[in-house]
Homo-oligomer: 433 residues x 2
């Protein structure tokens, strides 16, 4: 069966997967966790082959880290699955119960999305995590991993698939694609794949977004800003900036650009620059920023072009710019940002309210680190990803991002004719769900 | 300014439109309604020019009906706007209020989507209706109407635009595109247009969906089914089938295919066929269906190929098929349907539950007409459209389909470091919104 036929079949099997009970799905998750624990050695052996191959082909160190699947990653993966089991069932929630008229009852009920294509680079832990999220939410998943972890993925997939089927899930719930050519084939299955979730580098995600008509959940970049307003408290503000940059610089919610209000720039910018440099951060900025640092007796920052402010460093580098006021800060963020997470540091409630209203991002923060943008930190229990799109789900996405709803209408023979003629009227009475 | 520049500018203006108060937006709607009533003559004169041009170029009668903008359509448009004014504000709703930790407050608040591209064929009333929906929900809209109603659209747009700006809306809230070439330009603005709403024929909507990476809300076809189960009550069922077919055959929620359980086919199918024929409906079907009609002493139906069951007639024609049981009905609907609205007629609760669980459509009904699939009938007050997509909004979509949300997080200097190290813990306490 080629990819297209496989996905078509999965689409027709999807309602059976959707019809499984919460108990069945949780039993499948428990079986997954157990299989991982009982087959550690086989997984680590396969991963070792991938690591050897990576060493031979001179894969960069950062990638090697991501393709490693060791004791710690396995423990985290198992813990993630066990946590998922405890979360409430996302399916069958009655989102609306409304009597349209006597004996004509409308219900809006949460259901799985259907068939989800998961395409990821390198990280075998993503295979485990996303399979588990899809099983929990009654979705079918086609999984396509990167060739760098082909051995690990093959072993992991076989183990996970056998365990969920053994626990009673329908055979169509999971499938694996192994050939690179299957990515483009998968991207073209817009009739049968309802959603794509890519996990990987910015360029990888951008490629996916640009080559498919299937809706994509995720983000290709995270260009997050912090604006230090003239009424910010430096003692509170500078640690926030440092945390947002250095706590995990490769994360999408790390800050890339610091904007400083001109009225405080002469004192605030050198203080912030000093703290950042002490934390190992390299500074880039406008000519004005460089001059202010020099005037304060510091080394100037590297001067950057105005058009470079859309750069995501994912590294210990930050861009600096002085702005006239909150309006210029808002304009800069909406133009150069990626609509991910942006923050204002200020003691002024009105300025904060203006900023939070006008910045068009999934997360708009005041007086705290941008690094809080995360499904676990928000208390969602599980994270599907962070979306910078505006439809369906925005920002950190929990399990509810993997469900949609359908309308169920039950009548006793009602036809539309009498309502259209005015003979009968709807009364639209909501009933406590 | 070309389309791309215009849309770019609109994107940057969108936060100002989003920041208008409910009062300002409702005042703008009131001004729209008033402008329409005060300028009837100019509108009708422009529409007359379009009608004359259509007559000359031999436009089909059905299209002429859609491009007519007369007293009745104006009255309906004004009534629609006045109703919209009365609906609750969809913006600024607190969807979640959660204290992540002492003094770290997360809120999820409803906000407009941003920039909406509206592309419609023929119908000038769609221009009025969708502009009003966008204004109510604080969205910016780029409107592109068909060339058949160029005169009417120009007059309507100018009037609506001047009235909303006069009432205080920011200048970037609405824009009109007039050149046909601008459609493809608009379809390519995926960085700045957040959502497309097409209104027109199936082929038109399909063209839009196939030529853009912008999310599209709507449906290209409505192939709705009714399945008469062996345990249905014919006296209740046949009027439902007739209503679903003839009450408004051009609607997307009209039934296109009748599936009948084999056990009752010999009696039910001739009875249903007779009622449908008396209502002026032409019948097509499988060889088996034709034979059953002949055996009952009726004229056979026209015999159709199995692969034609995905046809949307939008006319007084229906497809007939005999199926073995509810499972075959479900399989047929999931394969040939458009995931719009499908119905089972049965007195058996278990069979109904199975059907409603397994049919993968936006609306799954029991014992009532498919024609109920409509935002007004569901009590949404306004209808943006009907979506057969699964992300964001599904089925009839009310104003909530034009909003998304953003996360606001307010702190007192919190950084992520202490939470990552385990020194501090989140307590995730939900607060009544």
């Amino acid at each position: 069966m080629n990819m297209r036929e496989q996905v078509r079949k999965m689409k027709l099997d999807a309602p059976a997967v959707a019809a499984t009970s919460a108990q069945e799905r949780c039993a499948a998750l428990a079986a997954m966790a157990e299989a991982l624990e009982n087959n550690k050695e086989a997984i680590f052996a396969a991963n070792e082959k991938d690591l050897q191959a990576a060493k031979k082909s001179g894969v960069p160190e950062a990638v090697k880290k991501r393709l490693l699947f060791d004791e710690t990653k396995l423990r985290d993966a198992v813990a993630g699955i066990r946590m998922l089991i405890e979360l409430p069932d996302p399916l069958g929630k009655k989102l609306l119960v409304r009597e349209l008229d006597e004996g004509l009852l409308l219900q809006r009920v949460s259901v799985p999305i259907g068939v989800i294509g998961v395409i990821f680079e390198a990280r075998p832990d993503a295979l485990v995590q996303i399979s588990a999220l899809c099983i929990k939410s009654g979705n079918c998943a086609v999984l396509k991993g990167g060739k760098e972890t082909a051995e690990t993925n093959r072993v992991l997939f076989k183990m996970l698939y056998e365990s969920v089927c053994g626990a009673g899930m329908p055979a169509g719930c999971l499938a694996q694609a192994e050939l690179h050519s299957e990515i483009d084939e998968l991207l073209s299955c817009d009739e049968d794949v309802d959603l794509l979730i890519p996990r990987g580098s910015n360029n990888f995600v951008r490629y996916i977004m640009e080559h498919t008509k299937i809706p994509v959940m995720g983000h290709s970049s995270g260009v997050c800003h912090i604006f230090a307003d003239k009424e910010c408290d430096p003692a509170m503000s500078i640690p926030i900036i440092v945390d947002a940059k250095i706590q995990y610089p490769a994360a999408c919610n790390a800050v890339e650009t610091l904007l400083v209000h001109r009225e405080i720039a002469d004192s605030f910018l050198p203080a912030a620059a000093d703290a950042l440099r002490k934390a190992g951060v390299a500074l880039r900025g406008t000519g004005e920023a460089a001059q202010i640092l020099e005037k304060a007796g510091q080394a100037p920052c590297e001067i950057m072009g105005d058009d470079e402010f859309d750069t995501e460093y994912t590294d210990l580098i930050i861009s600096l710019k002085v702005v006239e006021d909150v309006e210029e800060a808002i304009g800069h963020i909406n133009r150069f940002g990626s609509h991910h997470t942006d923050c204002i540091l200020t003691g002024n409630d009105r300025t904060a309210a203006r900023f939070m209203q006008m910045v068009d991002s999934a997360g708009v923060y005041r007086n705290c680190s941008t690094r809080f943008a995360d499904g676990f930190r928000y208390g969602f229990g599980a994270e599907v990803g962070i979306s910078t799109g505006k439809l369906h789900a925005r920002g950190p996405v929990g399990l509810e991002g993997l469900v949609t709803y359908k309308y169920l209408l039950e009548g006793k023979g009602q036809t539309v004719g009498p309502y259209a003629s005015g003979e009968k009227q709807f009364h639209h009475r909501d009933i406590q769900a």
